[in-house]
């Protein structure tokens, strides 16, 4: 059937958009990623490649490996979103030099959207898509 495969393609497109979006913000617009952003990138960038190969070859296991990457990213993105929202006490971590994860200007479109929200939404969507795909293709 073609339908589960299109879920895989959708997940790959989502991961690619997130990866290129992060590269655009960082490399083209010159926004320096903070440490938490880096960890989310570490989970997101391989997804764009692994899911691409999985969709190309129609390999179900690619989705399985990707699911764990997406779950890892989901954890970091959740933490980062809570941090930006101010729900995590600032007393948890001391300040270091470099870019602050909590106080950096992370909003796009004049504050309408925070970048960690986008990351959280992307990882959550990926987890949902991949679980649905894996269930539908389960034998």
């Amino acid at each position: 059937m073609n339908r589960p495969w299109s879920l895989l393609v959708l997940a790959w497109l989502l991961a690619s958009a997130a990866t290129l979006g992060a590269l655009f913000l960082g490399e083209v617009m010159g926004m320096t990623p903070c440490v938490l952003c880096w960890y989310q990138r570490i989970f997101m960038f391989p997804l764009a490649i692994v899911l691409g190969i999985a969709a190309f070859t129609g390999d179900r296991r690619g989705a399985f490996y990707s699911l764990w990457l997406a779950l890892g990213g989901l954890c970091i993105a959740s933490y980062h979103t809570l941090l930006v929202a101010g729900w995590i006490p600032k007393t948890w971590t001391p300040c270091g030099s470099g870019v602050s994860c909590a106080n950096q200007k992370l909003d796009l479109f004049n504050g309408a959207i925070q970048i960690p929200w986008l990351s959280l939404a992307a990882f959550a969507m990926l987890v949902l898509l991949l679980i649905t795909y894996l269930r539908k293709t389960a034998r």
Binding site: V9, S16, L20, F24, A55, F56
Partner: protein
């Protein structure tokens, strides 16, 4: 190739093309904004205090925004020198400081004190040659830079006193203000008679200079 593989390949190409288009559009917009900023404030581009190479009467002025700790500025130094050699009467170089790296401001002060001692070029060349030793971006070794400047003939005792002089401080302060106003964010940034490079690169710089020189020759001053 089956249909799925074809679809995935096509999508991959489309995504990359879209990304490239986005990058290009964004960069065009940034460059346009900067060109406007420069056009509206040409007085900020060339300041009387700025160090220059080449004849003051030269019809073509190349402005370089320069950071002594920047590797690309180091790589461009022989290229810029070669352009000056190529057009000894037509081109002059104006150096504006853009100390974006940690510790660069101190090295700029060193250069300015070298200028007071008439040792600008030897000290500049010594600092660029030894850049890999002192310009570690995490931890710049200013003491190493000072050593190399001293070897190039700088009187360090005098330089230390001169560095406190208000006019040396003023140069750096003015250059920093101009950087913000002109939206200079990268080094080296070049302007040839007020025009920025269409895109960054050695060939683009050489072409723009050649074009400006040809223009100046076609319209000789009375």
């Amino acid at each position: 190739m089956n249909r799925r593989k074809f679809a995935v390949s096509l999508l991959a190409l489309a995504i990359l093309a879209l990304f490239a288009l986005g990058v290009w559009t964004y960069q065009q917009r940034v460059q346009k904004a900067q060109t406007q900023a420069v056009e509206q404030q040409t007085d900020r581009l060339v300041r009387a205090h700025a160090p220059t190479f080449g004849p003051a009467s030269a019809p073509v002025t190349v402005v370089e925004f320069f950071d002594p700790a920047c590797e690309t500025c180091r790589a461009f130094y022989p290229i810029v020198k070669d352009i000056l050699r190529q057009y000894p009467q037509e081109v002059r170089l104006v150096i504006r400081y853009a100390p974006f790296h940690a510790g660069s401001d101190q090295v700029v002060q060193l250069l300015e004190t070298a200028r007071l001692q008439d040792k600008y070029q030897p000290v500049l060349e010594a600092l660029l040659a030894s850049q890999p030793q002192w310009a570690d971006h995490g931890q710049p070794r200013i003491d190493v830079a000072v050593q190399h400047a001293e070897q190039a003939g700088l009187n360090i005792e005098k330089a230390k006193l001169d560095a406190q002089r208000p006019e040396v401080q003023a140069v750096l302060k003015q250059d920093m203000e101009d950087l913000v106003a002109l939206q200079i964010t990268k080094t080296p940034s070049f302007f040839v008679n007020g025009r920025g490079l269409p895109s960054f690169g050695e060939a683009q710089l050489r072409d723009l200079v050649a074009e400006a020189v040809a223009q100046a020759k076609a319209m000789p001053e009375k």
